[in-house]
C-alpha cells in the first residue's frame, strides 16, 4: 500500500511537472494537512503554518526535479522542506510562541466537547493544555519536532526517522530527552503558581 502510494505520488509529480494542474492539486490535497499540522504544532501560529505550506508546495511547483524517488517517499521529502522553513521561522522569532493554537481567522481553537462536567473542571483542563502547549513550544527545535511527530502526529519511530532524515536511535533518544525536558518544564510551570501564592 505504502509503495503503491509512493509510485502514485511519483506519477502525479511527473504529470504535474509537465503542467497537469489536476495532478498537482491531487498531490497537494494528499499531503497538505500533515505538513500544515506539523508547521502549526512547531510554530504555534496558523499564519506561519500557512506560509510554510505555501513555500513547501511552491518548491514542488518550481523545482519538481529536486525530489529523488530513490531517496524516500514524497511525504518525507516535503517534511524535509517544511522542517527547513520551520527552522528559519524559529530563527526569526526565537522567543515568540502562542499559548493558544489559533485558526486561520485568528480565533482560538477550542475542543468541542459535550460534557456534563463543571466549568471549573474545563477551566482546569484548558489551563493544563495551555501549559503543555507552551512547554512543547519552548522545547529546543530538534526535541520539539520529535515530540510533535511521535506524540502529537502519532508517527512510528521509523516514519519519524524518515521524515527527520536521521536514524531511529536518534529519534528514540531525542524523544526520551524531549519528554524529560517537558516533564521538568511542566513541573516548573505547575510549581510557579504555588510559589506565587505562597509568596503572597
Amino acid at each position: 500500500m505504502h509503495i503503491e502510494l509512493q509510485e502514485r505520488d511519483d506519477v502525479l509529480l511527473k504529470r504535474s511537472a509537465r503542467g497537469d494542474e489536476e495532478a498537482f492539486t491531487q498531490l497537494y490535497r494528499r499531503n497538505q494537512a500533515q505538513i500544515y499540522r506539523f508547521a502549526l504544532r512547531m510554530t504555534g501560529h496558523a499564519w506561519a503554518a500557512e506560509e510554510i505550506v505555501q513555500d513547501v508546495f511552491m518548491t514542488l511547483v518550481r523545482e519538481p526535479k529536486k525530489y529523488d524517488p530513490t531517496r524516500g517517499p514524497l511525504g518525507a521529502f516535503l517534511y524535509g522542506i517544511a522542517r527547513n522553513r520551520v527552522m528559519k521561522h524559529l530563527e526569526r522569532l526565537p522567543r515568540e510562541f502562542s499559548l493558544e493554537v489559533k485558526n486561520s481567522e485568528g480565533e482560538a481553537m477550542v475542543l468541542d466537547v459535550a460534557d456534563e462536567r463543571t466549568p471549573a473542571h474545563w477551566a482546569e483542563i484548558r489551563e493544563r493544555r495551555e501549559r503543555v502547549r507552551s512547554a512543547v513550544l519552548s522545547l529546543p527545535p530538534e526535541f520539539r519536532e520529535t515530540v510533535v511527530l511521535c506524540e502529537l502526529e502519532e508517527m512510528s519511530y521509523e516514519e519519524a526517522a524518515q521524515a527527520l532524515e536521521c536514524p531511529i536511535g536518534t529519534v528514540r533518544s531525542r524523544l526520551h530527552r524531549g519528554r524529560a525536558l517537558l516533564l521538568a518544564k511542566l513541573e516548573m510551570l505547575r510549581e510557579a503558581p504555588k510559589r506565587a501564592n505562597a509568596g503572597s
Binding site: R29, L40, A49, R128, V132, E151, L175, R179, L182, L186
Partner: protein, 213 residues
Amino acid sequence: MNCEEFAIAGLDRNLDAGGLEFAGAREHLRNCPHCAALYESSLALRVDLRELGQLTSDATAPSRVEMRLRQEFRTRHTTEKSRGRVVVASWLLAAATLVLVATSLVLWQKHGQVKAAKTQPSVAVTAHAVANGPELGGTLIAENDGHEFALIPGAIPGLLDDTTVVRVQMERGSLGALGLSVNEEHANDVVQVDLLLGADGQPQAYRLPQSSN
C-alpha cells in the same frame, strides 16, 4: 533494576500493557516511590500530548493556499509554454531571415549580370534606331541631342572600353561614304563630326556636336 536503568528502559513504555519483559520495571516501581511518581507524570504527559494532538488533528491549510498555489502553477506553466513558443518562433524567424538574405543575394548577383549584359545592347539598339532614322539634316539633329552617338549603318557594335572618339571636320556629303543618306542641297557644307572608332580603327558611330547643327 535501579532508578537509572528504569529511566532508560521503563519510563517511556506502557508497563501495564507489557508482558514479562517489563516485569523488572514493574518491580522497581513498586519499591521506588520517586520513580513511581515520575512514571505517573510521564503517563499523564503522554495523555496531555495526545489530547493536544487531537485538538489540531483536523487542522488543514486554508483553501486560499490551494488557490494561490494553483494560480502560481497556472502562471508558471503558461509562462513556460509561451516562452517555448517564443523560442521556436525566434528560431523560425531567424531561419526565414537567413533564407531571405541568401535569396536576395543570389537574385542581386543574377540581376547584376543580366544588367551588365543588357547595358551595351541597349546603347547600341538606341543608337541603331536613331541611325536608322530619316536623312541626316534637320531631322537627325532633332533626334540627336549632340551627346549621344548614332550607330553607323552596317557597323557591328563592340565593347565600349575599346573605342576612341575622334573629332573631324568634313563635308556633309562625305557622310554618305559612311552609309548615311545626305540631302544633296547641303552636300558641300563643312560639318564637325565626332566619330567613335572601334578597336580596329573603323568608325562605329557618329555624333554631330551642337556647334555644327
